[in-house]
Symmetry: C2
Subunit: 444 residues, 2 copies
């Protein structure tokens, strides 16, 4: 990905800053303005892609020629864009951590043109992956004992999204993914057996199951609903009897009343002495269906589209806002979109305590953990790309911290985020001076 | 993209078919099972990416090694996967055409392993891009006289999605995009001026506007809501007065009551003799807000997140189903997911007539146009990659054909899709023989 992975206005602004020598350090803060109503928390994700993007940022000659046509900028300005690389610092909440509205997920401090230019890419990676990780986490909360497998690849918004969904859901509690490219790239468990077409391509269901068991003796999981589920389960049991003792056997239910069918299938397997057979269910599931199926004897769920597009909240109201330029705090006063000035830090306490949003320059409060940590300095990553398991570990730890009210599937209440007195004071001062400057008697 | 851009079960099934010599021709049909409630029609999109994917399909050595670890398939089976290329035929509804539920967007006929393997990728490209094109089309219907600009890149599901959204919305009536990489790749108008940060980085708003107008005299569109919109409009007018006569000037409104602010801004511009100044609005818009703003004097809308994630219907209930294998029609009977057998064609008549879903083998009915056309033969594209304008032309033509009821923004009624008598007969026969084979007295 290159510099053209940006909105045109960012390139115009960056070029204008470069031409005017406005190269002072700027801090932009990336955060969600508010949570969707069905979310009690978010799960930070997307940082790895942000850092890859920043490390590689540049315009190639063909892009510069195109930008010359579009913007009519003179050669000297295009050449300045051509020399631009990301040389700044990034502080971020590590992936897997639980976060809330108003809390910066990431802060970029860099020469103004560089920091401006990366807005769209950083927002894109962070907004989407954080939204999906939160959705996946809710699925995990709804079925904490089951293995959840990401089945979303066929209906995510592109295959790059499928990759990101596999990774984000693995961070947020999923056991594996059906999407091979992502499983391979990230070392996630790859899962999947057969489709209805497999059953249909053989002369009958029994022949199909036998063929599959012969070819994949480690994964004899049969899809039983192509024609009639109870019939399919009986056939699965008969074919399973022909396999060596100790074979890994199971069925997948993909339509109908999954809970009732699972009870019936469990009974049939147990009566056949196959208590080790595993029952998998899939088909239009989300956290609410998973909660409804909590009592059903289902060991594995394939969770697809609704998780992978975060169907009830397919985006977050995220923002990437200038908060400081050349050492001075900055804010905007736009109706309903007022921002808080200056570089910040988020401090977290015990379960039940509000989070604290403070100025980065403040002394840290005692007994609280800062969430933002340095991840890039002078355009270079600090440390290696970490495995998914590292983020998964943070997620599991934060989930234990998360209060009950925020975990609710139906009526979640996020943890409160309080502003520090120093931040309140600074916001008042900056707002007051802007009001005076622009002759505003009141600000919405 | 390579063969690993698939779900694991597709690779398992393909390997099993290859090992068993099940290489007979299979036809899979890709369609939406039903439309989301808020959609009266879909707009076919995503075919170009499907064809690119098919033409390049292969597994490289590293993928095969990984698959050996995951599936424990012997070398000979992996080697067979390694030799696999897509050698089949594709018939598809060309991009930009209006389509409905049940109508195949695409049919693949190929040796069974190849056709099975491409399921996830083809579903992914087609489902997402068709969903977004339909959402964009509704925005265009809501504001047919305005120029709509895609502003979604920051919150689409990845940057590949941003690229697809720019293209799909350009097919479905948008005038341009803010996303530079896509504008450049597809020859779409690139649009964009300044962000709030630009205004904030200068000592004051007036200085910022002057700088911008100096650097981009062709695009003097000022963002006026950073501090106070009426103040911003006054400043914009004053700065515009300093520009050479005939300069292209305008403002962008991004918060507050866009309709009322646009009326006020229009009045101020007109009083200043700047009747040519253009007013742009943005901020959380979708087709419903656009319809509400129909009477406002707004010339250009930036339409972002809600269009780019198709917020009220972020996926379609799409399917890729085996309908024919080795010349025999195939169907599944799964509860609520029954499919129609055999390769098909869709015939369209005059406005007001139902579409006709027929067997491909039937004689075409008189006076109707077939929607599916050959696009790939023997694994090779038929013809060059077409420009976006070709799909846009089809969209505009189909939009004129589309009945009023299907265009409704609030309570749309899709065009009916009738099955031909021959299709009804064949489905009954196949279902009857399956019921007999599996001893089913009734099928849901």
């Amino acid at each position: 990905m290159t510099g053209s992975c940006a909105d045109l206005y960012e390139i115009r602004m960056a070029a204008s800053y470069l031409r005017r020598g406005m190269l002072g350090p700027a801090t932009f803060s990336l955060f969600a303005r508010k949570l969707p109503p069905q979310r009690g928390f978010l799960v930070a994700a997307g940082l790895a892609d942000c850092l890859d993007f920043l490390q590689d940022l540049h315009f190639d000659d063909a892009e510069l020629a195109y930008l010359g046509d579009v913007t009519r900028l003179p050669e000297a300005d295009l050449a300045a864009l051509g020399r631009l690389r990301f040389t700044g610092d990034v502080r971020a909440v590590p992936e897997g951590r639980v976060v809330f509205a108003d809390e910066p997920l990431l802060e970029v401090t860099a020469p103004l043109p560089e920091a401006q230019l990366v807005e769209t890419a950083l927002l894109n990676f962070t907004t989407f992956q954080t939204a999906v990780a939160a959705k996946a986490a809710r699925c995990h909360l709804a079925a904490p004992e089951a293995d959840l497998i990401d089945f979303a690849a066929r209906r995510t918004h592109g295959l790059e999204a499928a990759r990101a969904v596999a990774r984000a859901s693995a961070i947020a509690g999923f056991a594996g993914t059906s999407y091979v490219a992502a499983a391979r790239e990230f070392g996630i468990l790859a899962a999947g057996t057969m489709a209805h077409s497999y059953v249909e391509a053989f002369p009958d269901e029994r022949t199909a199951f036998r063929a599959f068991a012969a070819d994949f003796p480690d994964t004899a999981v049969f899809l039983v609903d192509t024609y009639d589920t109870p019939h399919g389960v009986r056939t699965a049991i008969e074919v399973a009897r022909e396999l060596p003792a100790g074979s890994d056997i199971g069925i997948r239910l993909d339509s109908g009343d999954l809970g009732a069918l699972a009870v019936e299938a469990r009974r049939m397997f147990d009566e056949a002495g196959m208590t080790h057979a595993r029952i998998m269910a899939s088909g239009g599931l989300d956290e609410h269906e998973l909660a409804d199926l909590a009592a059903a004897p289902i060991d594995v769920f394939g969770v697809g589209t609704r998780m992978g597009v975060s169907a009830d909240a397919p985006s977050l109201d995220s923002a990437f806002k200038l908060v400081e330029y050349e050492g001075s705090p900055v804010m905007k006063l736009s109706a309903g979109k007022r921002t808080a000035p200056a570089a910040k830090q988020v401090y977290r306490g015990e379960t039940g305590q509000p989070d604290l949003l403070a100025l980065r320059a403040e002394d840290p409060p005692a007994g609280r953990e800062p969430l933002l940590v340095p991840v890039m300095r002078g355009g270079e990553r600090m440390g290696e790309t970490e495995p998914v398991s590292a983020a998964r570990g943070r997620f599991e730890r934060d989930l234990r911290w998360l209060p009950e009210a925020a975990r609710s599937l139906t009526d979640p209440a996020p943890v409160e985020v309080r502003w520090s007195p120093a931040l309140v004071r600074l916001a008042g001062e900056v707002q007051g001076s802007l009001k005076a400057k622009y002759g505003l008697s009141s600000v919405l």
